[in-house]
Amino acid sequence: MAIYLTKESTVLVQGMTGGEGMKHTRRMLTAGTNVVGGVNPRKAGRTVDFDVPQCLKGLGGAPRAVPVFGSVADGMRATGADVTVVFVPPAFAKAAVVEAADAGIGLAVVITEGIPVHDSVAFTAYAEAKGTRIVGPNCPGLITPGQSNAGIIPADITKPGRIGLVSKSGTLTYQLMYELRDIGFSTCVGIGGDPVVGTTHIDCLAAFQDDPDTELIVLIGEIGGDAEERAAAYIREHVTKPVVGYIAGFTAPEGKTMGHAGAIVSGSSGTAAAKKEALEAVGVSVGSTPTETAKLVLARLEGR
């Protein structure tokens, strides 16, 4: 078990034939991901050869010829894919996600950075109505170590284990994955730092709470919005597993003000201190540095 992504997952890559798409498809294959196709209407019918290190054959990796399909629907029909990873440029990302949702895919992982917020609002609402889960946008994706990697998270810095991790930040995720590599992770989800994201901290908390392979949850947040405060309220009501948190941005400069309206909506200052306080109030141990956070995880696991 794990959340959202397992070794059974079959993965399409939208934008596979671009520079980033090629580089990361190879990395995904190397990590054992079952990448079954790329999507590019102008290159449909071709195949792309990926040179995947032999040593990982046991994990499903091997030199692979990956077919390119003209649409997500074609790719799903031919391969039964249930996950898509989106690398297409910002201007085309909305159309790509809508296409994937129309095809009925279960999970769309949107790596693309710099998508206009109006587009994200539109495609997250659209996907929700169609029953497609979105992770991202502007995120590193998610990894279930030893099973599958959908996105750009380095797979070789950690191993399978019993910690579930959800984070707004990419490199902080990697830092914690690395610090806790001896214990390992069930699934790590980088939900992305954009103002509007498809999958939230709360979605991941709920999934980790229900995942028998996850013993402890690490939650990484940063300044802005009130997602961490909402996560704290959710933890109080619904999460019985231990949660360890880390918040970045205590000394970061204030972001641009959103006028009167911003403060009215969030009902919170969005500061790191407010988030830490909200999490600690519901029993979450919050580290003051990433390393201290890793130590808190070890202490909580030993205390069980």
């Binding site: 109006h118 539109a122 609402a125 509007v196 000394t251 009167h260 009215i264």
Partner: protein, 376 residues
């Protein structure tokens, strides 16, 4: 990017929302001419991207063109919360009967835009929202449907706005969508003694991610008042100047924010935020170092890189190459961890630059950089 009031006013007018007659100037002499054109009596309003300008004396009534020139002379160049007033807008005064509040703003938690409206507009809307939330209507907007006349009527009704506000609500939504705005706010929306509905003051924040399809509000305003920020922006660096003495370079926004916190926790102040991204190559490292070293407040520099997709040996090669083009004048503390950490550290050890020292942990390296900065 936030727009100035006069830019917001222009957008409202283009989309058919009534606004008072007004013109913008940076010259007191021209202010006199404008006042004459507008009928003599005018309101002179400082154009700054911050709130509280009324209280700071940045909004004043002038009785005639001569007074308008004098007032413009006083307001231009004024400092309002650290913002220097470069331009003033002169507007025809309005006889106000009622003041309302309307806005569309992104509700991050819901992932939707939210209409906010109140029959009690004016300066104190935040206080109204806090003390009497029932006086402020909040209605989420379905992105597929948008704000139709029916929806606008619902919003106006919930907030107790007059029927003429329905049209404003529809047009304001068009401003939000067509301009890729994250916030459009009219405060106050007024009903004049003659019964007209006018947008008296407005605020618009645009989405920087949408610049590729919104060429209009281009390079004339990058928002970098600070020369170091401007220099960094010219090199394409994601740099923010802060008031400290430890220069910071890291990869990934979250890790850099975390680095600032850890340095601050060691009793020193970070001099900047600089995220060089996942690649952390030689060129971006050299560009980053040169910007940071040109900051006279910097006493030490902390390079904090986690080697993920780009492994530590590649990052170390980048640092060595950068040091060939940038003359190091301050001590540099490097923490490399992650993939190929041992090889990366060996590369730097071999290079043996007298001002470069390595500490293997992030907390330890931050403490070292802080110590170097505070004892220097």
């Amino acid at each position: 990017m936030d727009l100035y009031e006069h830019q917001a006013r222009e957008l409202f007018e283009e989309h058919g929302i009534s606004v008072p007659r007004a013109e913008v100037t940076d010259s007191p002499k021209e202010a006199r001419e404008i006042a004459r054109r507008l009928g003599g009596r005018v309101v002179v309003k400082a154009q700054v991207k911050t709130g509280g300008r009324g209280k700071a004396g940045g909004v004043r009534l002038a009785a005639d063109p001569a007074a308008a020139e004098l007032t413009a002379r006083q307001i231009l160049g004024m400092d309002i919360k650290g913002h220097t007033v470069g331009r003033a807008m002169l507007a025809q005064p309005v006889d106000i009967e009622n003041e309302f509040y309307v806005s569309y703003v992104l509700d991050r938690a819901a992932g939707r835009f939210l209409a906010i409206a109140s029959a009690e507009g004016g300066m104190e809307i935040e206080e109204v929202a806090a003390t009497r939330p029932e006086a402020v209507a909040r209605i989420p907007v379905d992105p597929a449907e948008g704000v139709t006349s029916a929806r606008a009527a619902e919003i106006a009704d919930a907030a107790g706005l007059p029927p003429q506000a329905v049209d404003v609500l529809v047009r304001l939504w068009q401003v939000l969508v067509r301009e890729d705005a994250l916030l459009v706010e009219v405060n106050p929306l007024v009903r004049t003694k003659e019964g007209r509905i006018l947008a008296l003051d407005g605020k618009v924040a645009l989405d920087d991610n949408a610049r590729f399809r919104q060429a209009r509000w281009g390079a004339d305003d990058t928002g970098h008042d600070d020369p170091l920020e401007a220099a960094a922006a010219a090199k394409g660096l994601n740099y923010v100047k802060l008031d400290g003495e430890v220069g910071i370079i890291g990869n990934g926004a979250g890790l850099v924010m975390s680095t600032l916190d850890v340095v601050a926790g060691c009793g020193a102040r970070p001099a900047n935020f600089l995220d060089i991204g996942g690649g952390a190559g030689a060129q971006v490292m050299a560009d980053g170092l040169s910007v940071i070293l040109s900051d006279p407040a910097v006493k030490s520099v902390f390079v904090n890189v986690f080697g993920g997709i780009t492994a530590c040996d590649a990052v170390a090669d980048g640092i060595v190459q950068a040091l060939e083009t940038v003359r190091l004048t301050k001590p540099l503390v490097v923490r490399l961890d992650g993939n190929n950490a041992a090889r990366g550290r060996a590369v730097l050890d071999e290079h043996a630059h007298p001002l470069v020292q390595q500490v293997t942990t992030m907390d330890g390296a931050a403490a070292r950089a802080a110590e170097l900065a505070t004892t220097a």
